[in-house]
């Protein structure tokens, strides 16, 4: 999405590299190891800005093979970077220090669906949508529904604690993972959590979910499923301004009816999406809210009334209800294609992920739009408004000199606006590589030291996904983000 920035690092000596590759080939079979430069290039990036070449890429088929890869990496002192589909938006799967990228996509079996108990057991390479398609005829879903669900893996969802529109009602991925099989940095295979919620013992499952591949490699996940709802009402509230739409979000939450999804698309997005998808978003609207309510039919009707009332009171021009399944699907298609559609209207864009208290949504959006205008960038917004989870997308032309630097500057400022509002620097995309430098804005040195202790308890050598999540780290490349972070730091402002 954004043009690349290469991270450089010292080359490995040729004979050491050859020995390491031989060991990896023993672990997974020569057919499942890539090491030619032209093959490695494909694995140097994810969906963000930074790039770095791995020394080798392996495709294990079992947990035992993953463990063997980890042991080989230990023996040859190579970093290990797990990878699903590479759709991550924080540089999490980029092998900053080289080493072995462990691609989990061959482990793509749905091992078991126990519909009566609402449990599924899957391998990490299963694609989110493939699981949903298996579950749908059984009247079940796995709640996490990131917009990238057509391509992202369950392993990636677990590692990033991913969210989606329905996170508002159901919570992030961590609420939907009962147990994990994990390969640790010492090559041990352990089982955390179980098949039933609230297993005794320290909740290591909850710690590993969201750890972005730094604490362990997930080789199997036991998932908690939810039944598909009896009745669903999907509505489209149309506003003249994004400001009014933000006010409506605050009013809905304040009113005590919490929809299962409450998504915002602004005019930039509508104009990118509508000509392609024909979802029914009016081209002249300042913003629309996509609102979904589910439950018993009787209750859905009453709650819909409350939501419509809150929208009207905040100045909605119109509130439409989708009457048929196909209308509903089209609205959601419009939402889920939003990010992709931006690509068609700009040479490049940079997606941000911040969170603010929902009551502050209107003022924060005003600040972000004003700042973007001052920089001279267009800013397109499509986000999980009900959770206060913003996704400003900065549109720009990478051919323009200095554009990337200025985009990063503005990105940093927008993050800073979120933090100053009492919010967070990521609601679902993770810290990865990209936001490490901002961690010091929201955590004290003592907070970060405690996190570093956890990491060293799991992986003393720091072999798993180095230079991710926590700031600093020996030999971790410092990019422009570090300068932005330092420049915008306000001592003493921590949440």
């Amino acid at each position: 999405m954004l043009h690349s920035r290469h991270m450089t690092r010292p080359e490995m000596p040729t004979n050491a590299r050859a020995a390491a590759i031989e060991a990896l080939e023993r672990a997974v079979g020569a057919a499942h190891v890539l090491h030619a430069p032209e093959d490695l290039i494909v694995y140097e990036y994810d969906a963000t800005i930074d790039r770095a070449l791995p020394d080798a890429v392996v495709f294990p088929a079992t947990a035992e093979e993953v463990a063997a890869v980890v042991r080989a990496a230990n023996a040859h002192d190579l970093p290990v970077v797990p990878r699903g589909s590479g759709t991550g938006l924080s540089g999490g799967a980029v092998p900053v220090k080289g080493g072995v990228v462990v691609v989990l996509t061959r482990m793509n079996r749905i091992v078991e669906v126990d519909a009566a108990n609402r449990i599924a057991v899957v391998e990490p390479g299963v694609i989110n949508l493939a699981l949903q398609e298996t579950l749908a005829p059984l009247g079940l879903t796995w709640a996490p529904d990131p917009s990238s669900q057509r391509i992202c893996t369950i392993g990636g969802n677990v590692a990033n604690n991913s969210g989606g529109p329905h996170t508002l009602a159901h919570g992030s991925t961590v609420n939907h993972v009962l147990g994990l099989e994990v390969v640790l940095a010492d090559g041990r295979i352990v089982h955390l959590g179980g098949r039933v919620a609230d297993a005794p013992g320290v909740d290591l499952r909850g710690l590993v979910v969201g750890s972005e591949g730094t604490l362990g490699i997930v080789t199997q996940a036991t998932l908690r499923l939810v039944p598909t709802p009896r009745a669903v009402r999907t509505m489209l509230a149309i506003f003249d301004t994004i400001d009014a739409a933000c006010e409506a979000v605050s009013a809905i939450i304040r009113g005590g009816v919490i929809p299962v999804a409450l998504e915002m698309l602004d005019q930039e997005i509508i104009r990118a999406v509508e000509p392609r998808i024909h979802a029914g978003f009016p081209l002249d609207a300042g913003a629309v809210l996509l609102i979904e309510i589910e439950g018993l039919a009787e209750a859905v009707a009453v709650e819909a009334e409350a939501v419509i009332e809150a929208c009207r009171a905040s100045g909605a021009r119109e509130v439409r209800s989708a009457d048929t399944q196909s209308e509903r699907d089209r609205l959601w298609e419009g939402r889920k294609s939003g990010i992709g559609a931006i690509g068609a209207v700009t040479p490049a864009f940079y997606i941000l992920d911040g969170v603010v208290p929902r009551t502050l949504l209107p003022v924060v959006m005003r600040r972000i739009l004003a700042r973007s205008a001052e920089y001279g960038f267009r800013c397109a917004n499509i986000f999980h408004a009900g959770d206060g989870n913003l996704h400003p997308n900065i549109l720009f032309d990478p051919q323009e000199s200095g554009a990337i630097q200025r985009v990063l500057d503005l990105g940093g400022e927008i993050m800073r606006i979120c933090v100053d509002a009492g919010g967070s620097i990521t609601g679902e995309h993770g810290i990865g590589l990209e936001k490490r430098s901002y961690m010091e804005w929201i955590f004290t040195p003592a907070d970060l030291a405690a996190m570093a202790d956890v990491r060293s308890a799991f992986d003393d050598a720091g072999r798993f996904n180095p230079c991710k999540v926590l700031p600093g780290g020996h030999g971790c490349a410092t990019g422009h983000a570090d300068e932005v972070a330092r420049h915008l730091a306000t001592p003493g402002v921590y949440i």
Binding site: A299, T426, F443, V454
Partner: protein, 424 residues
Amino acid sequence: MTATDDHLMTTDARLAALRHAVPSDTERSPHAYSIDGVEPAVAFSPAHAQEIAALLRAADEAGLVVVPQGGRTALNLGRPLERHDVALDTHGLARIVEYVPDDLTLTVEAGIHLDALQQTLGEHGQYLPIDPPPDDGVSIGGLLATARSGAWRGHLPAARDLLLGAVVALPSGELAGSGGRVVKNVSGYDLHRLHTGALGAFGVIVQASFKVAPLPTATRTLAVRAQTLAEAGVLALRLWNAGLAVRALSVLAPEAAERAGLDGTPTVLVELAGLDVAVDRSAEIVREAARALSRSAEEPAGAPWERLRRLHGDRAATVVRLGVPATAVAEAVEAVRAAGCRSWGHIASGAVIGHAPHLDAAVVERLRAFAAERGGFVQVEAGSRALRAAADPFGPHEVDLVRLLKVRFDARGTLNRGRWMEGV
């Protein structure tokens, strides 16, 4: 100070070092703080998080074992403590730090009691949607440290899933936070999840942020008497799949039903919650489902849920909690009953509770084998010191990582030593 110096210090010198570290007006008489009949040498009730951190650091340096206690409702959960030198009473930390009703978010100090908190939230039409045992005096810190939940779990989130962030005092004397105050956040490691259910093994929770929920406008409880537990199980599973506006759905063995103030028969007890229309419609569905089995659904008198919660939280009895998949709940209720317990189970969470005056370790192990065959587990939630020494209260879990974490956070075993396992 090294471990060798530690041996040389007299008890008096250690206590003096501790007293030096915290304000004298926070010291309490140790008599009120015994656990398993063991009285601590000293007790403190600090009023600020920094005082707790300072106390932990001083105790750590002096080689004293600290046992944090809030509502003192779950102190016989876990193995018997190896030592109990210092009681740390968290009552002094009971402030609401920030409550923004319009954001449905809340930050509190850990010593505040759940019932007091619910009252404040209730004034704004909101609540923290969790119902842990026992029904009185649960502090927020204790609630998180034990991660216990009640009948609502599975229909509503567990405490760990409502927790947005926390601040924890560490034996190093540091205050370390994680998460934040917004409802969605994936920045950094979720250390607050690590501390939830850790029984204070790694630190003392001093502050916590939650997502709260609007109170349901209506609630209604219905009870259906069944012929057998198996029949109750069938009905309960049907109701679980009926899309009800439901907050609790439980199967009760006859003895538990009686203690809940109901007739002494196998019973399905359901609590509906939501909008009036949703509760009305759900009640119709429950009645129809009961009728299909030639049974009837009645609104019971009394307060069956409160009584069950009290039974679950009974400190004087032996209480076990099994976790099994939903379809095994009725069968597990029967097995726990056959083991001599009053038993009942919650369909959505798979939690099956057994309450007995006393249980043998062998019985606990038998139930553990029963649960394990079904992919589940057993936790001893309360019991005599002897039982908790003889039967592992938790059963098998990943111990190596827990030890490694313990070494990082509490290398000298200052906190709750022995509660999880030897040295931890």
